[in-house]
Amino acid sequence: MSEQHPHEPHSHHSHEHEHDHAKRALSPIELRVRALEALLTEKGYIDPAALDVLIDAYQTKIGPRNGARVVARAWCDGEFRRWLLADATAAIASLGMSGRQGEHMVAVENTPQVHNLVVCTLCSCYPWAVLGLPPTWYKSAPYRARAVKDPRGVLREFGVELPESTQIRIWDSTAEVRYLVLPQRPAGSEDLSEQQLANLVTRDSMIGTGLPGSAA
């Protein structure tokens, strides 16, 4: 991140941006963020170096590839699948994923009869431990407003057309329970390895706004 300043491991702003900033005025919002960070540092509430570590964690370590591992394991291992559906928090923790915004996990399974869709109409509740930071659309008004009332219209916007006979089950995350959709295993994927299967699992398929990639 701060290659030009290897002597400053605790640089509290990404230094690649620092040089850009020298050439132009900071926007009002950048000034607000800097002022707030400076204030909270000065008052002893935050360690700016911790912010760098947090950003790195959510940019490089904690994201939907974690959830994809959970899904692929459930597709390959019936016992794990049953455990995941019975006690998702423990089953997910057994793969080394736990904690912040994943303390109380529930996995919901798509079947030929039922398609699950997750939303947080009140804010942006999302299973960070397995999917990382939520995409902007998940936090946006159109998704939050429509997912509960017009799920088929929403799914169509995502390019997903479900059979009319499919029941849609919408989970509004209004408390601290976090939902992970276990998508249906793609047809023709019998010969794929767990890793290859994980590569078919998309973020959106674990929210319910998408389907996994095709095995072909």
């Binding site: 960070e37 935050i46 360690d47 303390e103 998704y143 429509r146 209004t174």
Partner: protein, 210 residues
Amino acid sequence: MSYQSNADLGGQDVRDAILMEPEGDLFHAPWEPRVMALVVAMGPTGLSNIDMNRAARETIPNYRDLSYYEVWLTALEKLVLQQGVLGDAPPAPKQVLRAELVAAAISKGSAFSRTPAGPARYALGQRVRTIAVQPAHHTRLPAYARGKAGIVERVHGAHVFPDTNARGLGENPQWLYTVAFDEKELWGEQNPKQRSTISVDAFEPYLEPA
């Protein structure tokens, strides 16, 4: 005393397109990751709790005009002022998240389950009705699911109660249930048929026997 949440969007008539986003696109401005990290790092200080944060966000008058990280920033600024950080005696942080503690803090998280004060009032499969109350404070029962009959589908144990926690009145643990509603119960016969069932996670005080 009135309380207006500008974040309770479920079922509202919002016609803008949903803007798709590839998996790797996490931030859209260089200041956004900083705001995300500031908010997360402030958690352990105990300056506010998650429910106070949500209350601070949803009461921003121009909530709908702001991007989500602008909402987070605005609410954090508000809380910092409210909690007297700029005053003569700023509250001492309970804990400061040091860089070397971040990984452990993330993987530990903070559980919201608590020992229940008494037995659960409702059982799996039971028919219940949500209260039709607009409280004068933060709550987690969305407007679209008020005064509606549904079925208890899951019982999650007792969790911290946002309605009191958001006001600094304590965790006041309450039983938490997943309550599922038929689409007709929520939207009436006029709404185009979706073949859908919608659930919310509802705390016991939000429910009455049906």
